[in-house]
Each structure stands twice: as C-alpha cells, then as structure tokens.
Symmetry: C2
Subunit: 172 residues, 2 copies
C-alpha cells in the first residue's frame, strides 16, 4: 500500500481550500456585478439556526488546520474568528493553505495509529486512531462545511458548478 | 503504511450512506408529524437550477457504488433512477450499502495505482490513478451530494444536526 497519511489528509485539505477560496472570489465578483452588499452573502444562512457563510468558512479552515495538525502530532496555531468580509474570508482560507504547506510528510509517519483525542461541543470527549479519524471525521467534516458554504452561495444566486468544488485541474 | 484502499473507499461510503438513510428517515418522520406532503421534500432544491433532493440522493448512491466498483476493477450494477418517495430513496441508499458489502478487500489490492477512466457531462473524458481518484474525486463528490441532501432537508425545517451526518458511533 502506497497511501501516505500526508497525501490523504494535507493534499485533500489544500485542494478543497483552494476551491473554497475560488468560490468566495466568484461570490465577491457576483456581489460587485449585481450591486449586492457583500455582507449579505457573508451573513447568509440556509436555515435560521445554521451557521452563516462566514462561520462555515472559519470551521472549514479550522477543520483542515487542526485535523492535519493532530495527525502530524503538532499544536495547530490558534486564529481569531474575526473575518467580516469576503476578502477577509478568502485570506483566512489562503492562510490555511499556507499553514498546510508548512507541514512535512515525515511528520505523518505512523499517523494512522496515532491516538487522536478531541472535544466536541455536542458529544464531548472523543478519541479515534488516526486512520478512522481521517476517513470518518476529518474529511467528512471538511467537505460538510465546504459544501455548505458552496450551497449557501448557490442558494443566493452565485453562478457556481460542481467543478468549481471538485477542481478542474488534475490533482498534483 | 497500513491504509488499505478498501478501508479508505468502501468504509467511508458505507458510513455516509448509513447516515443519509437516517437523515431521510428523519425527513419522513418530520413530514408525517407536520402533515407535509413528502413529495415537497423529495422535489426540494436550494436553487432552481440545482438538482432536487431525489437526484442528490441518486447521484450520491451512484458515486459510492460506481466509485468503489472502479477501484475494485469490477462493473457496477446499473440502477434506474425511478425513486419518487422518501421510502424509495431510503431503499436506494440501503441497496447501495448492500452492494458495498459485496465488495471484498482483496479486490482493492493495488487499486491505488489502477488507472481510473470515466466521462463527465461537463468536462468529458478524465483519468486518474486510483489514489488521487479516491481522495480528490470520489470522496469529495460523495460528500458534496450527501451534504447537499442534508442542506436541502435542513433548509426545509427538518431537525438535523451535524452529528447525524458524521455519525455518533465510533467507526468500526
């Protein structure tokens, strides 16, 4: 088996974050062209008790950053959730890609067996070995928030297609 | 590295399909309790030019079924997209889990290097090695459609939370 935990965690994180930055860029263009206050998009939700676009993006960023850090066995940097505009959200996503670029494949040696412990607001303390954590927690959670961001923008009329999410370029 | 392509493809597919069936079950209960015609949920969309719930579920099912089959090097069964009710959609998802259960880990030996070729309506013919196909195509596409199904239901008032998507049970 040639799969490395680095390839399976950091690379998908970089790819979907890169797509997310592009989606947000299209949202900014859409708002400008249609004279829409971009704050409407930043605060848009699919349901009154769902998080708005800004929080979806922040959680997606944290999921990518913290998830990869846990697998690498390093402490993730803590970033304030202060973004209030589309350019700020794009910068947050690009900063996430920049952080992922600082992680090295060697840090992920043996990560499949590393015990990952974390706390969730809903379920409390959880733990999983690195491999199930990656496959059943990190990646689903990452795509859950990135897709929800996509869906919020799509619901608000931004012209996007699935290829904007999956990426047109073949992966490196 | 201990990751197997079976563990990384079939197991996440089974898990998210199991969650999707449960989400649709909650939608059916919600419709019954609120005297909502379930057909409204089946046909609900987040934007006029997005697919409705039924199609999102069918594509999620196909993504799980066809993606795992490609990696295993077998032909996926072809299923008609005829579901018109929530119980029929749940049955489609359960049938998908049943199909995934027929695949054996040994079929995925070497799948990371197997050349995967497919056609998309938007981009045309594509090909990738099995590993990038799994990480950058199959899993993102699967979660894209499952999360969109979740988002459609949530937008229509069905009481769901992220743990319904990620699953409360620790993965086997």
């Amino acid at each position: 088996m040639k799969i490395s935990m680095y390839d399976a965690s950091v690379k998908p994180g970089m790819r979907v974050m890169t797509s997310l930055a592009a989606l947000l860029g299209k949202a900014a263009q859409h708002a400008e062209a249609r004279k829409i206050d971009p704050a409407v998009l930043v605060g848009a939700r699919l349901a009154p008790d769902m998080f708005p676009l800004s929080r979806q993006v922040q959680i997606a960023s944290d999921t990518a950053k913290i998830g990869a850090s846990r697998l690498a066995g390093v402490a993730a940097p803590s970033w304030e959730d202060s973004e209030k505009t589309l350019p700020e959200l794009i910068a947050r996503v690009e900063r996430t890609v920049g952080y992922l670029e600082t992680l090295a494949p060697a840090q992920f040696e043996g990560a499949e067996d590393r015990e990952i412990r974390w706390k969730t607001p809903v379920v409390g303390e959880r733990s999983m070995a690195g491999l199930p954590y990656l496959l059943h927690q990190l990646l689903p959670n990452l795509h859950f928030h990135c897709t929800t961001a996509y869906a919020i923008l799509r619901h608000n009329g931004v012209e996007l297609g699935k290829m904007d999410y999956l990426g047109r370029e073949s992966p490196a």
